[in-house]
Amino acid sequence: MKNRTIKVDYLARVEGEGGLFVKIKDNKVVDVKLNIFEPPRFFEAFLRGRHFTEVPDITARICGICPIAYQTSSVRAMENACGATVDGQLRALRRLIYCGEYIESHALHVYMLHAPDFLGCEDVLDIAKAHPDLVKKALRLKKIGNDLMVLLGGREIHPISMRVGGFYKVPTKAELQAMVEPLTWALDFALATVKFTSTLTFPDFEQDYEFVSLRHPDEYPLFDGRIVSSKGIDIAIDEYPQYFEEQHMAHSTSLHSVVKARGAYHVGPLARYSLNFDKLPEVAQKAAKKAGLKQTCNNPFKSIIVRAVETVFACHEALRIISEYKMPEKPFVEVTPRAAVGHGASEAPRGMLYHRYRIGADGLIQEARIVPPTSQNQRVIESDLSAYVNKNMKLSEEKLTWQCEQVVRNYDPCISCSCHFLKLHIDRQ
């Protein structure tokens, strides 16, 4: 069959609503579209006129899966605009709650959203039938991430403790100390997860990506530092608009981001890992090497191993922060608004999240711009699909469709974020 159409109307195990369309003519892919039909919610519009202190709680509602990423990027942007410095233990606590989000989000994606594809299961409950013990441990890992978020933030979804300048309330040393035992177990199970994921079967599919992520001189990046790429970009966060732009396509309610000079780029675990391998703790580096990963990983299917490696990092980092913690005297620093533009970027589990706000001396938002990870990855997802289908034309309709979905899920896309889901159409003519 030379010409055909493959379609999936509603892609499962991703966050949000979208579809995918691949058109094949004479055994070649002629068109690929990631259709995002998640209804737009207009955050950037209704943020105008809101007070700058309200923004972290409002932008958290863009995504129930990575609220800490939204809160962190927005508070960093406000602090940048107002010239405030938040460092020491307050900054460490922000890294700690971010580690909680990594453990929760990566455990969710590795075991509940991504692993079923590799094991030929429809969902995690199918995995649980064959491997109940593994799934129970996976749920415990996820819960430990959530428990860390609850301890610092009050609740796991849309936590309420982060504010411009720091936190509304900070934990005592004893409260954090209670997390040491579960996190120590989590670190062990994260290492076992690296081993487990490395035994899965991966298609031979190395791609030449421009990886983009944050890079920080002293640490594996969660927020702050510079924006770097595997093709030479090395800029301050506030230079983002000069190097990147967003384009609006007819088939998507999510804007597509491109590097102005070149086009598509890749954000997320593969990019962070490949650009910051040297900043991973030794335990994570060793686990990665043992799993057969090199210092750069260009196979998006192997992102499942990289997420496991990053989970090792997050558990290790959380334990480090807790061991060095001294309760700060004041939970926040005062931040006085001034007329300025502020930029903030952080590494959401699924990739870099950039925020920019213009605020007035009255503290009210005049303009907002939010660039979520999935809108940055849309182009790369489309080019992966095209390359993958061209290479695997001989597969049966059913198999190719499932694997196309997997190509998309490699990115842990959050469509609610990018606009906001997914419909897969493979059209063969």
Binding site: Y10, A12, R13, V14, G16, E17, E38, P39, P40, R41, F42, F43, E44, A45, F46, R48, H51, D57, I58, R61, I62, C63, G64, I65, P67, L108, M112, L113, P116, E122, D123, L125, A128, P132, V135, L139, K142, K143, N146, G154, R155, E156, I157, H158, I160, S161, Y168, K169, E246, Q247, H248, M249, A250, T253, L255, E405, C414, S416, H420, F421
Partner: protein, 260 residues
């Protein structure tokens, strides 16, 4: 394998952040037990498996913001015996209902370069504005234990035991000092439905209304207090009521009153 003896539960998404349906997956300790008692027939965020209706229970997340979704919800109602809306988007229109106080035509170009590609309704509306709803779970996000209680109640044929008093009462019960009286913080606790165990005041901040208006609230009295004793300006009062439940009637009326 299809088990016909278990009730079929479906999860549906409209305009939302996915957080409320994620609450189901966040029930780590209860998930396998719940999944053992029900058949998850439609839950795309978690599974590729789609079982056709009719469904015993539909959980609906998100608000109606497109004409396509306004049609789609009727099909879901027809296929569902018991339909429960989960979260502030589905029960009140969500944060995206802030457009209801403006002209959405002015909003589109602030976000999108090609307004002609965007199809959206002028208002973000709760599910109950479109179809009869059997039960509502409040919250932004919902309390996951409310969800477990709801599923448990439905499985056992009893009424869900979900509190309907105020955040203020929760604060008193846990012994938190009143942040409004003692620290002069703006707090929606007196008019907001319980459900979070008065989380924000226990973190030294005022309630910002995640669970929406309680039964018989008196937002005008609260606003009067803010204005006269705490010197809040009208725009500050408007913003306080215009959060995740801005379009819920008592909050909507209170904000509109102070906008004039």
């Amino acid at each position: 394998m299809k088990d016909t003896s278990k009730p079929k539960v479906a999860v549906w998404k409209f305009a939302s952040c996915d957080g409320c349906q994620l609450s189901l997956l966040d029930c780590e300790d209860e998930l396998l037990a719940v999944a053992g008692a029900i058949e998850i027939a439609n839950f795309p965020e978690a599974s590729r498996r789609i079982v056709k209706g009719p469904y015993d229970v539909s959980l609906v997340e998100g608000s109606i913001t497109t004409s396509h979704d306004a049609e789609r919800i009727h099909g879901i109602r027809r296929a569902s015996k018991f339909l429960v809306t989960i979260g502030a988007c589905a029960t009140a229109g969500g944060i995206q209902a802030l457009r209801n106080f403006a002209d959405v035509k002015n909003f589109i170009p602030m976000v999108y370069a090609h307004p002609e590609y965007i199809k959206t309704l002028g208002k973000s509306t709760p599910i109950a504005d479109h179809i009869p709803v059997d039960f509502e779970l409040r919250g932004c996000p919902i309390n996951k234990y409310h969800l477990v209680e709801l599923v448990n109640a439905l499985l056992n044929g009893r009424k869900p035991n979900i509190p309907t008093d105020s955040v203020c009462m929760e604060c008193k019960r846990r012994g938190t000092t009143c942040v409004m009286v003692s620290a002069g913080m703006t707090c929606l606790g007196p008019v907001t439905q319980a459900g979070c165990n008065a989380l924000c005041p226990s973190y030294n901040r005022g309630c910002f209304g995640c669970f929406g208006p309680k039964e018989t609230p008196n937002p005008d009295s609260l606003a009067d207090w803010w204005q006269k004793r705490m010197n809040l300006t009208k725009p500050e009062i408007v913003r306080a009521f215009r959060g995740f439940n801005a379009y819920a009637e008592p909050f909507r009326k209170a904000s509109e009153l102070h906008e004039k």
